[in-house]
């Protein structure tokens, strides 16, 4: 049974990866080639990839008989799924397809990383057998997904700011004010969920390891990321930071997110390293 589900998962996963790649190419063709029809097709293709990706996650969950959020592969693929989800919500809400040209590469980068990980389904060690794991990692997926979208939108902001004379960019990219606002909203959502990630992680750590905070490198880097985005949010108020400065800050924040996720697991000794 497990093999059958994993077979379906594998098909859907690589199907999703292929569709995400196609969507990225289409979004870029739409954006660079100034072809609006390609943009519409890109959205449909991304939706197709997202549906296949969701099926892959469900298949893995059914096969493993648990929520598929317990190792590096599972988190990476869920991370990419989270970015796709948040992006599709934002595209629908703000009707700016050009965002796809900036966010789809991030999705592809993360799912590509997932594809390189070991996909074996292994039984969970006792510490991971907790309902808090599901909350902790699921909130991380949404949080990182939102930060990924903020990263893409901030990249868009910087591009639009640089090419202010370009007609197509002016027509197809939201105004600078709107891009700034979308980025802010994505960061705000990501920040709220990151706080949830840290709090659910602390509750889980208290019941599994006897302390809710122990300055483990993963915990510390999550705190550093949280502080960076806290500074971003406060500077918008205290110094009226918006626009270019805020966009650069959102880019730095996401680099920090990626380091917390990939760098800490691979470069630093951490109690969280068992997710490998």
């Amino acid at each position: 049974m497990l093999e059958q589900f994993l077979g379906i998962e594998s098909l859907c996963f690589y199907g999703a990866l292929g569709l995400y790649f196609a969507a990225m190419v289409l979004y870029l063709a739409f954006f660079l080639g100034k072809n609006e029809k390609l943009g519409r097709v890109a959205t449909y293709v991304l939706w197709g990839g997202f549906i296949l990706h969701s099926l892959a996650l469900v298949s893995r969950g059914l096969g493993a008989q648990r929520v598929p959020l317990s190792n590096q592969y599972e988190f990476a693929t869920s991370f990419a799924w989270g970015i796709a989800l948040v992006y599709l919500i934002f595209e629908r809400r703000y009707s700016f397809r050009a965002m796809g040209a900036f966010v789809a590469p991030v999705i592809l980068l993360i799912i590509g990383y997932a594809a390189m990980q070991n996909k074996d389904v292994r039984p969970l060690m006792p510490a991971l057998r907790s309902l808090w794991l599901t909350f902790h990692v699921a909130t991380a997926v949404v949080s990182y997904g939102a930060f990924g979208v903020a990263f893409g939108v901030s990249g868009m902001y910087l591009l639009r700011d640089r090419f202010q004379e370009d007609d197509f960019i002016q027509r197809h990219l939201p105004t600078l004010g709107k891009l700034d606002m979308i980025s802010y909203r994505a960061v705000a959502s990501g920040y709220f969920f990151l706080t949830l990630v840290i709090i659910t992680g602390a509750i889980w750590a208290e019941s599994a390891w006897g302390r809710y905070w122990a300055w483990d490198p993963k915990e510390t880097w999550s705190l550093i990321t949280w502080i960076i985005y806290a500074i971003y949010l406060h500077m918008r108020i205290v110094k009226g930071w918006s626009g270019k400065k805020a966009a650069v800050f959102a880019l730095i924040g996401f680099i920090c997110v990626l380091f917390t996720y990939v760098g800490v697991n691979t470069l630093l000794p951490s109690i969280h390293s068992y997710v490998n």
Partner: protein, 455 residues
């Protein structure tokens, strides 16, 4: 159709975003409560926290002497970089941050209260302060008053206040007022987390006890003892571990308190304000030392322990235990977690000098000179972690406050809507919000167009 810049009662009272944290106090005091200094402190905490992730923390002085040298070693020793998060300068930064949070919240509270109590005063909302959407014209349907009321309802303001004056009709509504508290609550939550984290560290304790079933251990620093009743490991078919379980009795021999229960990973045993966690396991062995004079001494040896006796020159160091010993690629290994072919890996020391490293089976004599060691009855022991942290629950409450505050800040944004219907049929509607006013204005404009209330 035209528009004018909004001027809400909030702005008229000087409570807009621009006033927070800018007034009063000298520059020196401003360092303690200013948002800017708060940000600098946060940035410093983040930057210095990185050091603690790059330099191994909490090791012995010898460890740092072996792994670092020169300037790096001196810096580690001088700046206490081997324990960044408990270094005096890190504590000082956190203290300053806490003071900043306290003062910032205290200063903001009266303003917040004033804003919260802001009355709905239609007289202060003059038509020219609102966004003028157009002259109402009859062909589009309802009378102006009904049309504006419809607008309010469609904009999500089901209930609103009205006031009839000689100038015309004023309407006012607000929602999500609790959102005003968001930022304040989140700062309070963060402060509680920091304060109770340190209170927990100061007033709490952590101790480890270990033993085989049937033994009784003291919880260091408390009057309590733990009797280990049973210990078991549940395995899956592939020998991976499903769960570790310890049945125990916590008791106080002085006052007769007694509580029994089970602790397992992710489900600690809690009693008397203490939590007892299943922390680890290993193999314990009964080791017998036969001296030159034929006398015997026996004791239970736990992983990594050394069997040494005063006056004896030979000592046995328990290095590792393999319950189902095999050699694989020249390395000792255990095929299963069960006692099929138990083997002890040991080292012998003479006068502190290592003289032999080898393996032995149960009962097999390990002879060196006139001394003989042998081991029997290998069995699993359990390691329990006993924690009392009085800060956990209040810090958790702080976490909930922080989350609530963030939710209110981001998703419960206070909005107000003002309307005016002039005697001549002119209609003004104005919305005010501090967060994302562009979006709010756009949504109101779109709604206006949908309702075809203007020309």
């Amino acid at each position: 159709m035209g528009s004018r810049k909004g001027n809400s009662p909030v702005e008229q009272l000087g409570l807009g975003t621009g006033t927070i944290g800018k007034k009063s106090g000298g520059r020196i005091w401003g360092v303690f409560y200013g948002m800017r200094s708060g940000m600098i402190l946060l940035a410093l905490v983040a930057a210095l926290s990185i050091l603690g992730t790059l330099i191994p923390q909490g090791h012995t002085a010898e460890f740092y002497a072996q792994n670092f040298s020169g300037v790096k070693l001196s810096a580690i020793q001088f700046f206490q970089l081997d324990r960044v998060y408990s270094a005096w300068w890190y504590g000082f930064l956190i203290l300053m941050l806490s003071i900043n949070l306290i003062l910032c919240n205290l200063r903001r509270f009266p303003k917040l209260l004033k804003e919260w109590r802001l009355p709905m005063v239609p007289e202060t909302i003059l038509p020219q302060h609102g966004t003028f959407y157009g002259t109402y014209t009859a062909p589009f349907g309802e009378p102006p008053k009904i049309a504006v009321e419809t607008f309010f309802k469609r904009a999500g303001f089901k209930s609103f206040k009205t006031k009839e004056t000689t100038d015309g009709l004023y309407l006012y509504a607000s929602r999500c007022k609790a959102g005003l508290l968001g930022s304040w609550l989140s700062h309070l939550g963060l402060l509680l987390i920091i304060v109770f984290f340190f209170i927990g560290k100061l007033l709490g304790f952590e101790a480890f006890v270990y033993g085989v079933p049937g033994t009784d251990q003291v919880v260091a620093g408390t009057p309590y003892r733990i009797a280990i009743e049973a210990f078991d490991i549940e395995y899956r078919q592939d020998y991976s571990i499903h769960q570790y379980l310890t049945d125990l009795i916590l008791y106080d021999p002085e006052n007769g308190f007694r509580a029994s229960g089970r602790t397992q990973v992710n489900a600690p045993f809690r009693s008397q304000g203490m939590s007892i966690y299943q922390n680890g396991t290993g193999w314990a062995l009964d080791v017998v030392m036969q001296k030159a004079d034929g006398s015997e001494i026996s004791r239970t040896l736990y992983t990594s322990e050394v069997f040494e006796e005063p006056g004896e020159s030979i000592a046995l160091h328990y290095l590792a235990f393999y319950p189902d010993f095999i050699m694989k690629d020249g390395q000792p290994y255990t095929a299963t977690p069960f006692l099929n072919r138990p083997v002890l890996l040991y080292s012998l020391f003479e006068e502190g000098r290592q003289v032999r490293t080898n393996v032995a089976m149960p009962g097999e004599p390990i002879r060196y000179g006139d001394t003989t060691f042998s081991f029997y009855q290998p069995r699993l022991f359990t390691v329990l972690q006993v924690v009392r942290d009085p800060g956990t629950i209040p810090a958790g409450a702080g976490g909930m406050l922080l989350l609530t505050g963030l939710f209110l800040s981001f998703y419960w944004v206070p909005k107000s809507l003002y309307g005016y219907v002039g005697a001549d049929g002119k209609v003004w509607v104005s919305g005010f919000t501090k967060k994302n006013p562009i979006i709010y204005h756009e949504s109101l404009s779109a709604l206006w167009q949908t309702l075809k209330m203007g020309e």
